[in-house]
């Protein structure tokens, strides 16, 4: 019955109650979005680099190498000699070495030149291949293409379709003469490679050979240097100790660098983490302000209901009953605010997931972050605590004055 009284008290002032719920919901939604974004980005980045134990690329920024190789962002640092790839393939510490070559696109989607062994690459033993087929087969000869799930969907490509690649990383570059034919479409991997168009690395070499030859014919330049070069090499060591030994060995290599992408991501997290902590701090401050506004709202409501409380006292309600009714009002406001806030937070987050996916190729994970449970419980508890202020200030009163 106390809860009913509290509920009816709130309904009696719909605008005041509604605005209070809205304020609490907005603050909780903000914290939920920050939390979900943080958890989703971490998980999304970790999942994206998972297939890449070690990456070998030209000397330069490790961040640039990861951004380019894993996320198709930023331009390649440069190329490395095919000999390095051959040496790695024969290294007893290496389980597999897969060459990667970038440089072309099809309508903005990155064309990745690689070996057909990329389709048998298992990031973790026993968990199956990283790239699995939804339709078709792996490429076997130059100018066959296997299209990532999202790229196929967005580009409308299906088995047997043909297309021409363009030079560079953005649409509008010089179009190569060779025609690619789609022979396979991949299942989604929830990562940047959903947006890749995989072709045999020889296709890239052939396309650029012709492209470079034309340029050379005009410029009368010397023999091009791109032949049999790769942009990066995806290396899978035989084990952890082998990885460390391989890394040590590779420090002597002058023409290339070897990096642990996971290490780069951890550094990225620490940079992101500072901004995230700041956002989180702002969100907490806003929540405290929201709860104070709620406390004020309940206090005003309680002051405005002095007569009702006097009537309740006259009917036999104790001061504790009155205290509980005021506290129940805060509890109801915070429960509604927190629940609406969490739901809104998820709504905003799902919009952001779509935007992030299309803009950055990072697929954020969805679901309930464990921190959300703390936000929900904490939000409601602090809401009730905030309600203690008006409850303590108003539960005792001169009853007869208002009757």
């Amino acid at each position: 019955m106390r809860l009913l009284i509290a509920w009816r008290n709130l309904l009696a002032k719909p605008v005041q109650s509604g605005l209070t719920v809205l304020i609490v919901a907005a603050t909780i939604a903000m914290l939920a979005v920050v939390t979900l974004l943080s958890a989703g980005t971490h998980a999304g980045l970790v999942r994206a680099v998972e297939p890449f134990d070690l990456i070998v690329g030209a000397k330069g920024s490790p961040n640039q190498l990861v951004l380019n190789t894993v996320f198709f962002k930023d331009v390649p640092i440069g190329n490395v000699s095919h000999e390095i790839y051959e040496k790695l393939s024969e290294n007893p510490l290496v389980a597999s070495a897969i060459p990667l070559a970038f440089g072309d696109n099809y309508r903005g989607y990155t064309i990745v030149g690689s070996g057909s062994d990329i389709f048998s690459h298992e990031p973790r033993v026993g968990q199956g291949e990283w790239l699995q087929f939804a339709a078709g087969r792996p490429f076997s000869v130059p100018f066959e293409a296997v299209v990532g799930a999202k790229a196929a969907q967005e580009l409308g490509l299906k088995l047997g379709d043909e297309f021409k690649s363009a030079h560079g990383f953005i649409p509008g570059g010089h179009t190569h003469d060779h025609v690619y034919q789609v022979v396979g479409i991949l299942q989604p991997v929830s990562g940047p490679y959903d947006q890749a168009v995989l072709v045999p690395i020889e296709s890239i070499w052939l396309a650029h050979e012709k492209h470079e030859s034309k340029a050379e014919a005009v410029e009368d330049s010397h023999e091009h240097e791109h032949e049999h070069e790769v942009t990066a090499i995806l290396v899978k060591p035989k084990g952890y100790s082998e990885a460390m030994r391989l890394y040590q060995q590779f420090q002597q290599e002058k023409g290339a660098q070897m990096i642990f992408p996971a290490q780069v991501i951890v550094q990225l997290f620490s940079i992101l983490g500072q901004g995230e902590q700041m956002l989180r701090g702002i969100a907490y401050v806003i929540i405290v302000m929201g709860l104070m506004i709620m406390a004020l709202s309940v206090y005003w409501s309680a002051l405005g209901r002095a007569r009702d409380r006097s009537i309740l006292r006259a009917l036999g309600a104790s001061t504790r009953d009155i205290f509980n009714v005021i506290l129940a009002e805060s509890a109801l406001l915070s429960v509604f605010g927190v629940v609406i806030g969490i739901v809104t937070g998820h709504g905003i987050y799902s919009i952001l997931v779509n935007i992030m996916e299309s803009k950055t190729a990072i697929v954020l994970t969805s679901g309930v972050a464990s921190e959300e449970i703390y936000i929900t419980i904490g939000g409601i508890l602090f809401g009730i605590l905030a309600g203690l202020i008006p409850a303590v200030l108003t539960y005792k009163m001169d009853v007869a004055k208002y009757l």
């Binding site: 019955m1 009284i5 009702d308 309740l312 006259a314 009917l315 036999g316 104790s318 009757l403």
Partner: protein, 238 residues
């Protein structure tokens, strides 16, 4: 009902309010004794302290001096929480301003009163409330809010709420003041009939001569002086 049993006893009761300039005596009663099952009219002009006296008897106010005994227990000696429970169980109060809870429906107004007393078993509370509202002729307004009722209907709901817990003491403060004569008499008749049937004591404050003439015992409060506003004396006229 034991007509000779003493229920209420007031001795040297005074209620004073102090401000910077003066002390105002709202009510002063030398001695007043009311038997169980008795029905009395408390009369006096406006400002004579009738409402204050009813608040004191119901334990809503505590006297500045003197004592009020209910079945030989001094009300002011009770812990506040006990007094609240006692009021919920033993006292039914019809206020001059009715004081129905505006945010609750007619039925909920009665259920709330029952929830604090817990005299009626929980399972029977709803049925009993509907039955009582039927007796006062507002059973078709259960889901209505007080502002959706006429003044007469509100008065009847207030009367039903006062007797919902079958109290041993019913207090009614000017129960006919805001009503036309027919409705006023109807409500008063209902309270008197209920008190008689259940053996409850009924104290009705009024300045309506037609009402006070219905009571065998009339207690009057009068202003003591014009200079000190609100002072009053009591006379037992039974």
């Amino acid at each position: 009902m034991d007509g000779d049993e003493k229920m209420l006893e007031l001795n040297q009761v005074r209620k004073e309010y102090r401000d910077v300039l003066q002390t105002i005596t709202a009510v002063a009663v030398d001695h007043l004794m009311i038997q169980t099952g008795e029905q009395i009219a408390l009369v006096g002009p406006s400002g004579s302290g009738k409402t204050t006296l009813l608040h004191l008897i119901s334990g809503l106010l505590t006297p500045t001096a003197g004592e009020i005994k209910f079945n030989d227990i001094v009300l002011s000696s009770m812990l506040e929480t006990w007094r609240d429970t006692w009021r919920a169980k033993a006292v039914g109060y019809v206020f001059q301003k009715l004081n129905l809870l505006s945010s609750l429906t007619v039925l909920d107004n009665l259920l709330v009163a029952m929830s604090f007393a817990n005299v009626i078993p929980k399972k029977e509370q709803r049925q009993w409330a509907i039955q009582l509202l039927d007796q006062v002729g507002v059973s078709d307004k259960l889901g209505k809010f007080p502002h959706q009722l006429s003044m007469g209907e509100q008065q009847r709901v207030a009367a039903a709420r006062a007797v919902i817990n079958k109290p041993s003491l019913i207090l009614a403060d000017e129960p006919t003041a805001s009503l036309d004569q027919d409705n006023g008499l109807l409500v008063l008749d209902m309270l008197r009939r209920f008190a008689k049937e259940s053996g409850s004591t009924l104290v009705v404050s009024t300045h309506d001569r037609q009402i006070m003439n219905q009571f065998e015992r009339i207690c009057s409060l009068r202003k003591q002086s014009e200079e000190v506003i609100g002072s009053a004396t009591s006379n037992r006229l039974a």
